[in-house]
Amino acid sequence: MIAVDISKTLHGSMGEMELSVDLRIKEGEFIALAGESGSGKTTLLRIIAGLEKARGTLNVGDEVWMGAKHILPPQKRKIGFVFQDYALFPNMTVLQNLLFVQKDHALAAQLLEMTGLDELKERLPATLSGGQKQRVSLCRAMMNRPKILLMDEPLSALDPAMRTKLQQEILTLHRNFGTTTIMVSHDPSEIYRLATRVVVLDHGRIIQDDTPKKVLLKTSGSQKFSFEGELLDIIDVDIIKVAIVSIGQQLVEVVISPQEASSLRIGERVTLSTKAFAPILSSK
């Protein structure tokens, strides 16, 4: 059991904000940390890692990482941290990056094999693609068999195809090692695929804490399709009006009434919903 009960005053771009988090995490859980930028997600990860100071307590199993007087330095916490910008050591080869944590050749070989990096182990980071770099970073984070794996938007800099591939690898690693994991993510499909629990932060406080299904499926139980999108344009076609809405990566056309058209503003966020009694799902 990991018990986090911390608070810290942040001086952000929107003035002062109080980060105050009380969280119990079971061993082996995979938590997705969501919330708007500036809500304190990264700071929370850095506090857990010991890279930033805060008030309060942090207990991991029977170890005190942060207490009234005692603060365990990051070097002694046994954590894995995956940064958004990979943060690899450019002067070391892939293998040396891993062995820098611990001279455990067997574990390094196992991790490189699992992530398909075996053939690249003698290469320098500058010669790798973004996806390969993030794999190395992930392997490096696992090298000390961490008690907690912390990931700060690990896949946000990658293209969608690479993201899906790496999600699968993160899942494989999680199943193999059973590491308690906290991952900052904005991507609903990523959260749904990986996490067992979603914690949503807003202005430094937890506003939601539930299963991905409960948090992400906004229409759960109502038999409705509901999508959020951006209203791009409203065009006149003969006597009707058609709204062009951008949902995810796709554009859709929707017929709307003149009254509806007058109440909508181009550029605003809109919700598009319809009854879904008999939808047809077919593979591409």
């Binding site: 070097q75 894995g80 050591f89 450019p90």
Partner: protein
Amino acid sequence: MSELFAGIELEPFLLSFKLAGVTTLILFVIALPLSWYLSQTRSKIKPLLEAVTALPIVLPPSVLGFYILWALSYNSPVGAFFEETFGIKLVFNFTGLVIASCFYSLPFMVQPMQSGFESLNRNMLDASYVCGRSKWMTLLKVALPNIKPALMTAIIVTFAHTVGEFGVVLMVGGSIPGETKVASVAIYEMVEIMDYTSAHIYSAIMLILSFLVLLGVYIFNRKHNKKLGGFQ
């Protein structure tokens, strides 16, 4: 041609390079922890330390030389202490020159190293701490190897700047042949006695050497940046 060079003494050059070498070595050891500290600290005394470190850049060498001369001479507690305790005189000899040069060239070692350390990705340093490595190990194994161009610049510029030193050296060391008469002082004396031929030769040697050194630094930096894909 050989007659032209017959009267040229190499001693002032050797002395210049010996002084520059010793100064660079000492300053590297002093500047390493200082510049690392300055690059990492958020302390309020940082601007104060930075201002003190940068002082030799703006002070006239005569002012700096005067203070060092005064501080090292028998009239000051420091000079008196060294002479009474160890029997060492600190002015008008090579030791005094080294001490003066260390003050004079300090910013040229600290500033490139500091900006090198500051250009490092903070996440990379944090990653090293999370990997279980101490600050000291992180400095040696992660920070230093990734600022090689900045290190090279710091070392070479310090060396070259010390070779090119004149005012401070003259104030603190005078012009004792074989002890404190370095190349720049020798050239000054040649001009004073209107020995323009020797002055020309000495100056040309200094000019060519300095140019080659700087050219070498820039070529090294270019190659290194290509290899590691720039600072990451």
